[in-house]
Amino acid sequence: MKNQNLKEIKIISGLKQNIAKIKELSGGSSDVLINEFTTGGIKCALICCEGMLSTATITELVLEPITAISAKKDSHELFHYIENFMLLSVDRPKADNYDAFFRLINSGFAVLIADGMDKALAFGVQGYAVRSISEPSAEGNIMGSHEGFVETVRTNMSLIRRRLKSPDLVLELFLKGEKSRTDLCLCYMKDRVPSELLEKIRSSLDNIKLETILSTGYIKPFVESNNFELFSSTGTTERPDVLCSKLIEGRVAILIDGIPFAVVIPKLFCESFQTLDDYAFQPWYSTFIRWIKYFAFLIAVLLPAVYVSIVVYHPELLNSTMLMLLVDAEQKAPLSILTESLGVLLMYEIIREAGIRLPKPVGGAVSIVSGLIIGDSAVDSGLISTPLLTITALAVISGFVVPDLNQSVTILRLAFLISGGLFGLFGISILACAVLVNICSTEDYGFPYTAPLSPFRSRGLDDTAVRAGIPQMQSRNFTVEEYSENS
């Protein structure tokens, strides 16, 4: 509300009154630096936000030339001269109201006001402390680039632009967040993106009414459907190369200032199993790895549930040696196998959460305590059976193979375990039906999450069932529009 009001307040032409208004609006904030000086015979002030700009740049490129201006008739002539005869920085926006004024100084601009002028000139001399480009932490890669997104949206834009030098790449900057005034950047290839998708995403973004945007999770609800979805229909990536491959396929991405991740729309289920390395290795090896990932996903979700249901209800599925081994192990355990499994899985989740949240040196200690002490002693004391612990460990490790689906896998693993423990394979089957229907109902902007499997698109199988050769895949100019049910 306050920002809306600020938009309506025009910049005051009198310097003293202007400075007073700025102080009033900023609440006397200590980081708003107001430097009054005279140049060309006109009283001026250069206003900036401490720590947001480069001292060396502003001294060399702005302060030195601007203080050396010869006498001018009035402030209009001074601004005209600066605007047209001095190239003090490459980014030189203007502000005629206090909303734009504060947005500029809070974005690292140095803003010049002068006595008798009802507008302000800004110079892009940003120089705030930023994290340098480093290797992505959550998306491991062997053969591809080791650059990941950083927190600065403009750096991220440059990372994309460096990889896609085509003029068809459009990067649209806009502001969202009533308080945070966060820069968002909509990225797309204008020759590839389905126009309907772009319009719908724009419309969704227009509906964003937030005070702050501090993570991708803040805007996801606005670009995803409102239905209950077990799997997210929008993807995230912290790799510029991955994002470029998505943009080439006609997808739309949203970069958010302050977040080293891009949101990609739409996302398909099969994409969770694709990594950039798949395209660096030989196709036959990539195909093998991809099927390993599909298998690992099923193990991660179903293995504990199938184990419990087989041991409790369907022992005929096991051969006699295996059956005797399990009977022997489970007889010694004091708890029911379902309780035991639930306990082990929940303990794993607790340990995992502790490992993530604690400082790294302590996190290592958690691993030692949990893995060696708790695990070993629990088995030795007979509290947990060895086969069950092995099964749980296998399921958990398999889940790491598809980190993108980790949240859904965690919940589904527990749900299937309860269902299998209560109703055996019948319970697992009917829960599988519900999950399957849920996955199939996941759809954003007319792009079914389960494509190209259902609705079936045979052309899409060359990057899902197998990994075809790069020339074959690139020659067919695939865009995500092929999967749209609206087209």
Binding site: F426, A434, C440, E443, P455
Partner: protein, 333 residues
């Protein structure tokens, strides 16, 4: 109802057909298999008036209220029949809770299936049809494993030795009773993309292949003990074991449960789309009401013999007589 593709239509209907075949009660012999196959060809011929209506942008949803009500009642009753089949067949399939808790176990199992159907139906025809394609593909793989396993235990003499007192016409009639899903076929054909004739041919060819695989493998495996078995398809699945020290009965249980859910969900969706046209103001709890009606009607069929000739006549009426009447009415206009 949103438009569905040929593959989706076929998958949804084949799942229903496969489920009813799994629940088939009685003897199967070569004549039965041939009767079922011949019956499917007759069903295709009988669907010609419906196909020609659909070619001219007809759908049951757009027809008169009386027609909609007839189809609605039929589909609800058929949904009830599917629940009854589930109850009867679950006696011989090892469903953990059901077997040890009598009627309450049965109700719990039916309730769980209904719950999943309720959720499935609430997501709409698109989601269920997409899921049906995947379920059908998985089912086909499982059936292939069961069929290959059946080859190990098959006795080709069973094709000739199995005796049955029923006539060929009776077998055609029994085949018709298994084809109650044709009500949904009638409702959904008008909402399918592409040429309705091609869609119908695609479905009936799929149905012939499915029926042939299931019935023949059942005769080959369980033909020798057909006289003492109630559910021949289930028995043949139980007898088909590829490994000497392990059993794969549970694989069949998985297909059975998945197909039960989807076949009932398809009926509830079809009935739901009709109910929306019959009573447009009935928006909340529509699917719940339909599933309650289905479970209620299941009690009508639960005790008695499901495979009565009367039901075959009703199915023929739904598939042929009504569309034929509508076609003639249109032609006269």
């Amino acid at each position: 109802m949103e438009k569905i593709t040929k593959n989706q239509l076929t998958a949804m209907l084949l799942i229903t057909d496969a489920f009813t075949l799994f629940c088939f009660k009685g003897h199967i012999c070569l004549i039965t298999a041939l009767g079922f196959l011949c019956g499917t060809v007759i069903q295709f011929l009988m669907s010609v008036p419906l196909v020609s209506l659909c070619k001219n942008n007809f759908s049951i949803e757009k027809s008169g209220k009386i027609i909609q009500v007839i189809y609605f009642i039929y589909i609800v009753m058929w949904g009830g029949m599917l629940f009854a089949m589930l109850w009867q067949a679950s006696d011989v399939i090892y469903i953990p809770y059901e077997n040890s808790h009598g009627i309450w176990g049965k109700l719990l199992i039916a309730g769980l299936v209904a719950l999943v159907c309720l959720y499935s139906s609430s997501t709409g025809i698109k989601a269920v049809s997409r899921a049906s394609v995947i379920a059908c593909a998985v089912g086909a793989v499982c059936l292939f494993i069961v069929a290959v396993s059946a080859c190990f235990g098959s006795d080709w003499k069973n094709l000739l030795c199995t005796k049955n007192s029923d006539s060929f016409v009776n077998e055609i009639s029994r085949g018709f009773v298994l084809s109650g899903g044709l009500g949904s076929f009638a409702v959904m054909l008008g909402n399918s993309k592409g040429n309705p004739l091609k869609n119908a041919v695609y479905y009936f060819v799929g149905k012939i292949i499915l029926t042939a695989v299931i019935t023949f493998s059942s005769i080959l495996v369980a033909g020798g003990i057909m006289q003492i078995t109630d559910f021949p398809i289930v028995t043949s699945a139980q007898l088909s074991q590829p490994f000497p020290v392990q059993r794969i009965d549970s694989l069949f249980l998985i297909i059975f449960a998945v197909f039960a859910v989807f076949s009932i969900a398809v009926q509830s969706l079809s009935a739901g789309s009709l109910l929306m046209k019959i009573i447009p103001s009935f928006t909340h709890f529509r699917t719940t009401a339909i599933l309650i009606l289905m479970i209620g009607s299941a009690f009508l069929f639960s005790g008695g013999n499901i495979f009565r000739p009367l039901y075959a006549v009703i199915i023929a009426f739904i598939l042929l007589i009504i569309p034929l009447f509508l076609l003639i009415k249109r032609s006269v206009k």
